[in-house]
């Protein structure tokens, strides 16, 4: 009985499946127009939300894909613009160097700084010119902005120079007008202060203002007179008798050293006063403008604090137990 019912069920299932197959086959053999109509009815009524979902998914997928390509385009444009900035800086540096070469006229060897700023040798430079190019030991190394250092060791086609932050670096210096002389060395300070210079041994009567350019004096025979070393920032309180010391901002930052000129020893004796004069004057203007704006700000702050400290008007006759002067005006 039960087996018979199961067989009947199975027969019904087969019949239903056969009917489904027939429907599918009928749909398959329908002419194009009614087939499209049927498909349109199904699409428009039954699966329209699904179609909308699919459409959104496809759009989202395309957006992802486009986003990737846009990102790539943006990255490549950014990389190019960064390279362009470096090329522009290099171009400006080379123009400056060409101008320096033209101004120096003779007695120099152009060189590239090959290694700079590595740990343990941050105060030396490997230069791409050596004995073969006529470089001699203790030759001055300069850049378009000013003094870089001096050659200490020479190889056949390269040389090693110490730059101004080196502890052994010394240069006899003077102001542009020659009113004060001193010795410039690296400044030993903390952090950023470590990348400044010191001018020692300035006579006590010679007071230098912030922004005063300091150039090499030409004494000693290594550095020609007139190479810009830096500008005075402030006086250094050392308490050493009858001489003054000053902290200086260097004309050339070590990180900017790329292309340099090595001056021949006989060039050092003739002087280069006119070469760095425009840079020295421009640097003086910049520092003075900054100092003036700082002074202005300080004056304004002082005026504000004075206004706050002014006593308020109090009654001529104060009640018993109340002081005649406002408590916040008492210094």
């Amino acid at each position: 009985m039960r087996r018979g019912a199961a067989r009947a069920d199975s027969g019904v299932d087969t019949l239903v499946a056969a009917a489904c197959v027939v429907i599918a086959i009928v749909l398959l053999i329908l002419p194009v127009a009614p087939r499209n109509r049927v498909a349109g009815v199904i699409r428009g009524n039954v699966i329209s939300p699904l179609v909308a979902m699919q459409e959104r998914a496809v759009v989202a997928g395309r957006a992802f894909a486009v986003n990737d390509s846009l990102q790539q385009v943006r990255d490549s444009v950014l990389a190019r613009s960064l390279r362009l900035g470096a090329v522009e800086a290099e171009n400006a540096r080379l123009r400056d160097l060409l101008g320096l070469g033209r101004a120096l006229e003779w007695g120099y060897t152009p060189a590239e700084a090959l290694v700079s700023g590595t740990d343990g040798a941050a105060h030396t430079l490997l230069l791409s010119a050596g004995r073969a190019q006529g470089v001699a030991r203790l030759s001055a190394v300069v850049a378009a902005d000013g003094l870089v250092g001096m050659v200490e060791h020479i190889d056949a086609s390269t040389s090693i120079a110490i730059i101004w932050p080196h502890p052994d670096f010394r240069v006899s210096a003077t102001t542009l007008d020659g009113s004060a002389f001193g010795i410039v060395t690296a400044h030993r300070g903390d952090g950023v202060e470590d990348w400044l210079l010191e001018l020692h041994g300035v006579p006590y009567r010679a007071v230098l203002r912030a922004g005063t350019p300091v150039v090499s004096s030409g004494l000693g025979g290594v550095f020609p007179r007139g190479v810009l070393i830096g500008t005075v920032l402030r006086e250094l309180r050392t308490g050493r008798g009858w001489a003054r010391s000053y902290v200086m901002r260097p004309a050339v930052r070590p990180s900017d050293i790329a292309s340099v000129m090595i001056l021949a020893p006989n060039r050092a004796t003739t002087g280069v006063e006119s070469v760095w004069r425009p840079q020295a004057e421009a640097a003086m203007q910049r520092v003075r403008a900054a100092a003036d704006s700082i002074a202005e700000l300080r004056a304004k702050a002082a005026a504000d604090s004075v206004a706050k400290a002014t006593p308020r008007v109090v009654p001529a006759v104060a009640p018993i137990g109340v002081p005649a002067v406002a408590p916040d005006s008492i210094p």
Binding site: L15, A17, M53, Q54
Partner: protein, 163 residues
Amino acid sequence: MNRSRTLVVGFVLLVLVALHFTLRPLLDWRAGVDFLVIGVLLVAVRVRPGVAAVVGLLFGLVLDALNPEALGAAALAMTITAFAASRLKAAFFTDDLGLNAIFVFGGKVLFDVLATIVEGRLRGSALLWQLLAWTPLSALATAVVGVVVMAMVRPAIDEQRFR
């Protein structure tokens, strides 16, 4: 199936349909996962073969509506696949996940082969590539996802059976 199991299966089916029309086009794999086949097989093993055939026909029509050029091809293939799956459930549909994977893999291959041949769009080497490379790959991906789906929904569905 009792009512709560029907509800759970219906919900899972809805999720699978939604995934078929959202995740599948988003992934846009050449051998993509067929969530509709997983859904049909999930239902087919829990209902009578006749009902499975009707469900297969309806799901097939849904697919066909998006491809009116071959209206009826997916319906026919899905009907046969669902009916066969429902008939074979006693032999195949066990608690063994490996057998379930083979079951889903076979179902997807059967559906693809039938649909591709009935559709008649591909010929020659393109047909061979489809049947010998892309269909097995797609079936493999579908089987992996199908096993995961079945492993996830089985506790919710089969728990009812033992109560």
